[in-house]
Symmetry: C2
Subunit: 205 residues, 2 copies
């Protein structure tokens, strides 16, 4: 199938164009999805389209941690048994879900909505950083755990937040970096391996 492809219908073409705007979906996949939708019941296609519109129009965010939430204060922030003195800073809701999936964390979150990335035009003001500083200054928080992606953008954001919080008296920690569980050492990249060596800890049996 070549680029100069003529679609036999402008309705089909419009849908394919819109679907292929989604990240990671090219025009071939978009056509496959559009043809799949044409074979489905009208009710099912409407359910898909409506669920997307409804989500976009009516989604809400927790006013405390800025995670996606149907209520003013999300379930985690509203949970009496969570430790409100520990705040884990993450990029987005997927990271919250990943950390919740470990069943290891009993504190609360602060969702930045991204990381500082000048290349993508995302600066500190586009993120929930001021609201984090405000939240810390209100008191009651003992530790802020930085759990951003181990990338240059994540590191930049970590450093920016650290600078903003260093005079607040709160303990700022960052999640451990090292070799991943079950990764083979020979295939671990040099930066990770170098950091794992430099960050070695006493052996505990």
């Amino acid at each position: 199938m070549n680029q100069s492809q003529q679609y036999p219908s402008t309705l089909l073409q419009k849908a394919v164009t819109e679907i292929s705007r989604l990240p990671g979906i090219g025009s071939r996949t978009a056509l496959r999805l559009a043809l799949h939708l044409l074979k489905q019941d009208v009710v099912e296609v409407d359910a898909l389209a409506d669920s997307i519109k409804e989500m976009r129009h009516n989604i809400g965010y927790c006013k405390v941690c800025h995670n996606i939430s149907d209520t003013d204060v999300c379930e985690i922030c509203g949970n009496e048994s969570r430790n409100k003195a520990t705040v884990c800073v993450v990029e987005n809701v997927r990271d919250v879900m990943a950390i919740e999936g470990t069943l290891q964390y009993k504190g609360v979150y602060h969702v930045l909505g991204g990381v500082i990335s000048p290349m993508d035009g995302i600066g500190p003001a586009d993120l929930q950083i001021d609201s984090l500083v405000e939240r810390v200054n209100k008191g009651g928080i003992e530790e802020v755990i930085l759990a951003l992606s181990p990338t240059m953008e994540g590191d930049t954001t970590n450093f920016y937040i650290y600078r903003k919080l260093q005079d607040s008296g709160v303990k700022v920690t960052v999640i451990a970096r090292g070799v991943a569980q079950n990764d083979e050492l020979q295939y671990t990249d040099e930066v990770t391996l170098g950091r794992a060596l430099a960050g070695r800890v006493p052996f505990k049996s």
Copy 2:
């Protein structure tokens, strides 16, 4: 991320569930797409959802060849310069687009809408086979080219159509099978290679 994942919002969860019904899209990808959509302008998200609904509600089919079309008779069937005596039988619109992409074919098409596949509950009555026979019986057609996928379902459908047309006097041909251009012989599967040997033709320089 594990299976027992709790989404922080039912709106998000509903959209993810709907998106993950699409073929080849799992719940992880669906979540990524949903979060992408949440970051887009409302106008853009509405454009996507509306284009899908509009396509599903208003799509039409050519009454001659049953290809997707915005008009009663599609552009190919309505084109004076196409040879109406040669009809190429294909499974769906993607195959029409692929053959049109070769710029080698000047005849017209007949789109079956699928192939006979008892496993998927698709029988001859679910396809545009009767309308093909009717079209041939009306006269004016000299050759029917079977261009279905070289699979068991395609072969079954080829045979079924051949049987239906064998008394009509029309010439029934099937597209050539053999080794694909630029494929390395050593990696060609045995069935294809065996058929290519059996179907050898005189060398022309």
